[in-house]
Structures are given as structure tokens and as C-alpha cells.
Amino acid sequence: MASNPMYQFNVYRIGPEIKLGSVDISFTNASLFMVISSLAILIIFNLGAKKKTLIPDKLQLLSELSYTFVAKMISDTAGSKAKPYFSFIFSLFMFVLFCNMFGMIPYAFTVTSHIIVTFVLAAFIFIGVTIIGFMKHGLGYLKLFVPSGVPMVLLPLIVVIEIISYLSRPISLSVRLFANMMAGHTMMKVFGGFVISLGIVGGWLPLSFSVALTGLEILVAFLQAYVFAILTCIYLNDALNLHH
């Protein structure tokens, strides 16, 4: 069973079964890694924010660079109006990044390789952005579906397409992250299995592949967190600054 490349995505209960009414909310390995990621973020950034020195030490530099990185990302994509949402996007980016990165440790569980987790995040973003859009612009937010400069003949078609693309945002956002993480980890597991099955004679090729894939996956882990955060910024930009 362990050689099954999908086995690593299994969720199992750790500790006793907790039930809220009839709903099972037991603490699982997925929950464990969510807690670990959050704690790691909190510890690192708390240590980084603790000292107030003119010349920052390593952790302080790390936290401050992340801060300015996310701040720049938001101001570049969504403008200055998005400043109140900075802390949310920062936590989102860090959470996804740390979950992805912790998933890279062997035998660890990748929280973001589960569609339900990414979908909840994406759905929350989608609903939140929609609410912000309607609060800022009222019914004028519906103009988002009517691009300017489109011939009247094409307008019904364009509106339908725009609505579909808008509604598919949470799905594309969640599936992008989930599929990337799942595919990468599955591939690494498959190549790892080849190393074992080909043995000492032929195992070197898949082993080198595995090494290369590890580097690639670390890149993908960062990139997907970045894409997740920047797409959130872009959706937020649509809601805050109605361009169409």
C-alpha cells in the first residue's frame, strides 16, 4: 500500500475522534500540518518582529523582506486602495507558502494538495471579493461583466462569457494550487518508487530525476503560493477599481 503514489495524500485521524453533533471534526494529520505551518509562521515572524534594531538580524531581515515583498505585490497589482487587505493577503500567502514548503519534507503531509482546503480558501476569497465589490460600487459592480468598447451584437455573448469566467474563478484558483501540489508530489513518489524497483543498477536515473524534481517542486511550492496571492490581489483589484 505504501508504494501507491496516492497513499501520501491519505488523511487519517490522530488521537481521539471528536464529534460536534453528528459531524466528525477529529484532529487529523492534515490538521497537524496546518497547526505546524501556522505555528512556524507565528514563531518566525514574532521573532523577526521582536527586536527593534536599526541594523536587522537574519530573522528580522527575513520578516521585513517578506513584509515589503507582499506590500509591493499588493500595491503593484491592486493599488493603494488594497492596503486594508494587506494583512489578509500576507497571512494567505504565508500560509500557502509554508504549507507547500512543509509538504516538501519527506513523510510530511501537504495540506494544499487537498482540493477541499484550497477550495475553501478560494471560495472565501471569491465571496469576500464579491461582497467588497458590491459594497464599494453597489449594483454598479455588475458593470464588471459588461466590458466597454464591445459591439452591441456581441454584447450578450461577452456578458455570458464574463459571468462564466467570473464564477469559475474559485474553481480555477483552487484547482490550480491543488493540482500542482498533487501532481508534483505524485511524480516524486513515482520516481522514488522507480529507484527502489530498479535497484542499484538502474536506479540512478530516476534518483537523479527525483533530485531535480525536488528542486523543481520547491520552486513550484513558492510559485504557486505567489500565484495564489497575486490572483487574489487581481480579483481584489477588480472589486476595488472598476476598470471595465
Binding site: T28, A30, S38, E64, Y67, F86, F88, V117, V120
Partner: protein, 196 residues
């Protein structure tokens, strides 16, 4: 119409779930809904706590740090600019002083030179005067001596020629006539010399 749509939605949902469960049984644990609620629950809790702590505690500290650093750096730059200006002033003053002292030194030097030159000129003039006097006196002496020597020579020549004639002829010749002859001869000689 509405009924049709509702039925369609149900059918597609059913098909989706069917395929999802088929995939799950095919080996995708992600599509097993057994722990979905648990995952959502823990996601909300952990992410909520993370978000709240970051927003309330950590991020303000970091932005505070960045702000204070920025302001401190700006302050430092300001003071550095001030000090730079001051040092520029000091440098200007210093250069001014140096220039003035240079001019002064030049003046001193020129004065001293002039004095020395004057002194030298005076001394030289005095010396030249002395030398000229000496030269003129010597020249006078020389010319006098020349004159007197010429006369003496003619005298000696006259006497000698008189003695010679006496010895040769045996009788004395008028000394004045001999003197006249000698003088004539000397004149001729002189003229010859002058011509030559």
C-alpha cells in the same frame, strides 16, 4: 422552464458526484469526503488564529520597525547633510586662510627680495664707483707714467746717442740738436706705429 433547469442541475450534480466517487475509489484520497468537514474546521481555526495574531500583533510591529528605521535613516541623512555643509564651510574657511597666508608670505618674500635687491644695488653702485675711481686714478697714473716714460726715453736716447757720437767721432756734438733729432725720430716711429 425552471423545472427543466432544476432537473438539469440535479443531473449534472449527480454525474459530478458519481465521477468524484469513482475517482476516489480509483485512488484519489482528496475526493474522499470523510474528513472534509474536519479539514475545513481546522483550516478555519488555524488560518483564523494565524490571521488574527498576524494582524493584531506581528504585522504592526514589523511595519512599526520599518517606519522607525525609515525615519531614523532620514534623520541620519539630514544630520549627515548638515555636518557635510558645516565641514564644507570649514573647508572654505580653511582655504581662505591658506590663501591669505600664502599672499602674505608672498608679500613678505617680495618685500625681502626688494630690500635685498636695493641693498645689492647700493653696494654694487658703491663698489662700481670705487672701482671706477681706482681705474681712473690708475689710468691717470699710467698715462702720466707713459708721458714721463716717453720723455725719459727720448732723454736717455739723446744722452746715449751723444755719448756714442762722442766715442765715435771724438768730439762733442751739440746736445740740443741731438735731442731734436731723437725727438724727430721718435715722432716718426710713433707715426709709423700709429699707421701700422
Amino acid at each position: 422552464m425552471l423545472k427543466k433547469i432544476i432537473i438539469l442541475v440535479f443531473v449534472t450534480c449527480f454525474a459530478c458526484f458519481n465521477t468524484i466517487f469513482a475517482a476516489e475509489s480509483g485512488g484519489m484520497p482528496q475526493l474522499n469526503p470523510e474528513f472534509w468537514i474536519s479539514q475545513i474546521f481546522w483550516l478555519i481555526i488555524t488560518f483564523g488564529i494565524l490571521f488574527i495574531v498576524l494582524t493584531k500583533v506581528i504585522l504592526p510591529k514589523i511595519s512599526d520597525n520599518l517606519e522607525t528605521r525609515k525615519s531614523q535613516i532620514l534623520e541620519n541623512i539630514e544630520t549627515a547633510d548638515k555636518q557635510k555643509e558645516e565641514s564644507q564651510k570649514k573647508i572654505d574657511e580653511y582655504e581662505k586662510i591658506i590663501l591669505e597666508s600664502k599672499i602674505k608670505a608672498k608679500n613678505y618674500f617680495n618685500d625681502a627680495r626688494e630690500k635685498i635687491l636695493e641693498d645689492i644695488n647700493k653696494k654694487r653702485a658703491a663698489l662700481e664707483k670705487d672701482i671706477n675711481e681706482e681705474i681712473s686714478s690708475t689710468e691717470n697714473e699710467l698715462s702720466e707714467f707713459k708721458k714721463s716714460s716717453g720723455e725719459k726715453v727720448t732723454k736717455i736716447a739723446a744722452e746715449t746717442s751723444a755719448e756714442l757720437i762722442k766715442e765715435l767721432i771724438g768730439e762733442g756734438v751739440n746736445s740740443s740738436s741731438i735731442a731734436a733729432i731723437v725727438e724727430d725720430q721718435a715722432k716718426i716711429n710713433k707715426e709709423r706705429k700709429d699707421v701700422i
